[in-house]
């Protein structure tokens, strides 16, 4: 299997796509249409290949990926569930895929109806009544919500609230978003159960505390049962609670952020409502908020007047925009299809089965792998290889790499940071008991393999253990004729 780059199979004069002849009069050369000082001397250096080269290259490359459609992919926190084919066919309908974002509302009534209904669905599911579909991803949603919070505190004259509180088990995006939104980050400790240490939290709540960002269920897969106490504490102190919705897959129709006290929350539509993850994106990160925060949401929002839908830009207290155009509509569309496919009972069954599958897998593994935070979980759990590491010098990395040999993508590893040698396993509801059993059997088998053999894993993949230090020390980020052999 060759690793030739498309630039390395390029040959001058070859080409795939051809353009039609110019059907308007060609009356003058290009440099009389555009003054020559604006023009490039040469066309940009792009690969030159025929269509068959292109197709073979990218088709063959694709087979070097694992993917949901071909492999079990229990990547914790990422909710790698099945991506229905019907969504792809529907999203490609010309009446949906062919709409320009600046078309007049009258020409996109069908699209606006979908987006309006999606606003309704998402507010109902979170229990928070106001919404913006604009953010492009979960982290973007966090950032948008923090802008909303900042605008709110400015509006009510509490500009001293400069602190965002974040549990030590939080996703890295939480503190990063907080800093980007102009806040300082204060970390709150977890207790031995893996939940928020209430005393530590209390000690950090004062009139500088703007927002407490909490993931619930948290990244250990545990439901924060003190959540009502936590939100009451924040609210009494005049602060807001933000719910990182990464783990909504565990609680659909079971409990709602609005019901347990969150003021703001984001969705990862691509996770919870199964947009294909696209090798890293796109996502979609809508936020829902309480009524008193609604005025600050980005514009536009879809409103319904009689039978007509329109984009509402007239929101004077709005923070403005966090991107151009409406949002990641293509992913919202897939989420809409998913919610319509499942209905209320189906969504609840999603969470029930996600939690059942995770607990079952936990029950199969707990005798071989440490699960530091108990033998129950929500939709995911964090196991640890610390015992194997201590006794046999087998690390989580070894296990992750060895799993690839069996056709399984690895779990999320070394996260959350509060668990040593962490393996964060999220099977999702779209896997079968047979798959979970085979995966558990494999993990158990790996625990009994020789350490040296595991250190050298994977043994069957196209590559094994790339040198990441070299990659970072001497970054080679683009092909050049010189970089090829580095």
């Amino acid at each position: 299997q060759s690793t030739e780059l498309i630039y390395e199979i390029s040959k001058p004069g070859r080409r795939a796509h051809r353009l039609p002849p110019c059907d308007v009069p060609v009356t003058e050369p290009v440099d009389q249409l555009v003054p020559p000082q604006y023009l490039a001397k040469n066309a940009p250096p792009l690969p030159e290949v025929a269509e068959i080269d292109l197709v073979r290259h990218f088709n063959n490359l694709s087979t070097r990926n694992m993917s949901i459609d071909t492999n079990f992919y229990p990547l914790g926190s990422c909710t790698m569930k099945y991506n229905p084919k019907r969504h792809e066919r529907i999203a490609a309908m010309p009446g949906l895929a062919g709409l320009h974002p600046l078309q007049d509302d009258d020409t996109v009534q069908g699209m606006l109806e979908i987006l309006f209904e999606m606003q309704e669905f998402l507010t109902e599911i979170s229990g928070l009544p106001a919404i913006s579909l604009q953010p492009a991803a979960g982290a973007h949603g966090e950032l948008t919500a923090l802008y909303v919070a900042a605008a709110y505190f400015r509006d009510i004259g509490q500009t001293q609230r400069k602190r965002v509180l974040v549990p030590d088990s939080a996703h890295g995006t939480n503190p990063a978003s907080a800093v980007l939104a102009g806040f300082e980050v204060v970390t709150v400790k977890s207790d031995s159960r893996g939940l928020v240490d209430l005393n530590d939290l209390k000690s950090k709540i004062d009139d500088r505390a703007a927002v407490f960002m909490i993931t619930n269920p948290n990244t250990l897969g545990l439901f924060e049962s003190q959540i009502r106490t936590i939100t009451d504490l924040m609210h009494e102190a005049g602060g807001l609670v933000y719910l990182d919705g990464a783990n909504m897959n565990a609680i659909l129709g079971i409990t709602r952020p609005g019901d347990f006290g969150a003021d703001m929350q984001h969705y990862n539509v691509h996770k919870t409502f199964t947009g294909p993850h696209g090798g890293g994106g796109p996502g979609s990160g809508p936020i829902t908020v309480r009524d008193f925060l609604a005025p600050y949401l980005p514009t536009p929002i879809v409103v319904k007047e009689g039978d007509r839908f329109r984009l509402d830009f007239n929101r004077p207290k709005s923070i403005g925009r966090v991107r151009s155009f409406f949002g990641n509509v293509g992913i919202l569309l897939r989420g809409y299809c998913y919610i319509r496919t499942l209905g209320p009972d189906g969504l609840k069954a999603v969470s029930e089965n996600a939690v059942l599958n995770a607990n079952y897998l936990l029950s199969r593994l707990k005798d071989v792998y440490d699960v530091p935070h108990g033998d129950r979980c929500m939709h995911e759990f964090v196991a640890s290889a610390r015992k194997l590491r201590r006794e046999k010098k087998i690390s989580t990395m070894d296990i992750a790499k060895r799993l690839l040999d069996f056709g399984y993508h690895a779990p999320t590893v070394y996260f959350p940071l509060v668990v040593p040698e962490a393996m964060m396993i999220e099977p999702t509801e779209t896997e079968s008991k047979e798959t979970l059993d085979a995966f558990a059997d494999t993990l158990i088998r790996i625990a009994s393999e020789e350490a040296d053999f595991l250190h050298a894993a994977p043994h069957t993949m196209i590559i094994s253990r790339p040198d990441e230090v070299k990659a970072a020390r001497e970054p080679v980020l683009a092909w050049t004729p010189q970089s090829a052999g580095k």
Partner: protein
């Protein structure tokens, strides 16, 4: 239930293994008073047949670019997407994978993103590209944040009024909570006059943001703007149109430090505005400040060339509150599409596409301005988009044209109070002479009958 696999027997066996009696028991950690005690108020489940009909009916209520003739631009363009782009990006292995954390199981995505980065670097004439940002607007904001990190202490951001109004609005939002001021430099002549920049720039200026071709489609004095910016020690940020680089000089070649773009033109469907593709490239020395994922070349333990995510210490999952950006999920699938698109076109195809856009836009401008009362709004060279002043109320005119099957252009008054008499018209390589002549005819007819009506 759709997509669920557990049979009743499976459930029993699983519950037994867990040691609980019911699924309900697993939810015990959620206090009863926080539980929902009613079904979600959303519509009941639909089968695939019903869902498909339902969405087809909704789609039929839209007027798509395929059925109407589309002259809309303003940052999203009806370019042709070669069939190979859909065929390949529709491969399961690409679109149902996630971020390539496990390099051994992700060489397909990693190599494709590395090729994308190379193409972006080559396209812009800058050394480093990330593996995508969300879209063109937040890319402006990310570039400005990056620039302010590069020149610490400087707090002023200058942005031309001819930059896409939504990009400027996005930047305002990002800047609002940070210690910086954003000053918009008016562009009444349809471009940023270098003298106006000279007057505004100072030693507090962190960066200057230009769009070229700009929101009106006209060309900026980009090189001169860059020289003024550099002379003041500021970072020069350029938002470009990728298709224009088939003809126009590359940002890196005329002095850009950071180049960003809305990449939708490179093989992404219009899709009512998203998901699109945020492009960002920069000079090599800024590499450790760039936001977003980076794919780098390395070797594996046997010495085989391969690719990995690299320089992750810039990123949120490692550095948390010290990260260069909070971005996690990006637009990988559209980076892949852009790579396929540019491979399909190659240098010659991109050049020809750009030239067709230029010639057809020029022809359209000539045909439209030949209509009595219509003139070009700005006396500047343009690429594929231009603005006209019309002797009629803009909205009713656009509605009439729409009813005849033309999405004729954008009402510039929507964003610029001084341009309420102007329409922005974009012409891609897909528009034919017949499309353009038809539009001109329809406008002429409407203006004549409008004039007639007014004269009665």
């Amino acid at each position: 239930m759709s997509y669920l696999l557990n049979t009743p027997e499976d459930k029993d066996a699983m519950l037994a293994s867990i040691g609980v009696k019911s699924i309900e028991e697993l939810f015990a950690p959620i206090p009863a008073e926080l539980r929902m005690h009613r079904p979600l108020n959303i519509p009941p489940a639909m089968t695939e047949i019903e869902l498909t009909s339902h969405l087809a009916a909704l789609a039929d209520r839209n007027q798509a670019a395929g059925s109407a003739i589309c002259f809309l631009g303003g940052g999203a363009y009806d370019h042709f997407i070669p069939s190979v782009v859909d065929a390949i990006s529709g491969r399961s292995e690409y679109y149902t994978a996630y971020t390539p954390y496990q390099a051994e199981a992700s060489q397909g995505s990693l190599q494709a993103f590395y090729e994308y980065q190379t193409m972006m670097a080559n396209l812009t004439g800058l050394e480093v590209s990330n593996a995508s940002l969300y879209e063109g607007g937040s890319a402006v904001a990310e570039a400005v944040l990056m620039a302010t990190n590069l020149v610490e202490g400087r707090k002023k951001v200058l942005i031309a009024g001819s930059v896409h109004p939504e990009y400027r609005k996005t930047l305002q939002t990002y800047a609002a909570t940070l210690d910086m001021t954003v000053q918009t430099l008016p562009t009444p002549e349809g471009f940023l006059n270098p003298d106006d920049l000279k007057a505004a720039i100072d030693s507090q200026t962190a960066c200057v943001v230009l769009q070229h071709p700009n929101f009106f489609g006209t060309l900026e004095e980009a090189r001169t703007i860059g020289e003024i910016t550099k002379a003041a020690g500021a970072i020069f940020i350029v938002s470009f149109d990728p298709i224009s680089l088939g003809l126009l000089e590359r940002p890196g070649d005329y002095g850009a430090d950071i180049a960003i773009a809305e990449g939708q033109s490179l093989g992404t469907p219009l899709g009512y505005g998203g998901p699109y593709l945020g492009i960002m490239t920069c000079r090599n020395e800024y590499v450790r400040k760039i936001p977003g994922r980076l794919v780098g070349q390395t070797v594996d333990r046997t010495g085989k060339r391969c690719w990995v995510l690299t320089l992750q210490t810039r990123e949120q999952h490692i550095r948390r509150d010290k990260a260069t950006s909070n971005i996690c999920t990006n637009q990988g699938l559209f980076a892949l599409r852009a790579a396929i698109y540019l491979t399909a076109l190659g240098p010659q195809g991109l050049k020809e596409t750009a030239e067709l856009c230029l010639r057809k836009a020029t022809y359209a401008a000539r045909q439209l301005t030949a209509i009595p009362g219509i003139s070009l709004r700005f006396n500047r060279p343009f690429f594929k988009e231009f603005s006209i002043r019309v002797p009629a109320k803009v909205e009713p005119l656009l509605i009439t044209l729409r009813e005849q099957g033309y999405l004729a252009g954008l009402n510039l008054g929507r964003w610029y109070p001084n341009l309420t008499d102007s329409i922005s018209v974009a012409v891609t390589e897909k528009r034919t002479k017949a499309d353009i002549d038809g539009l001109a005819q329809a406008i002429k007819h409407r203006l004549e009958s409008g004039a007639l009506a007014a004269s009665l």
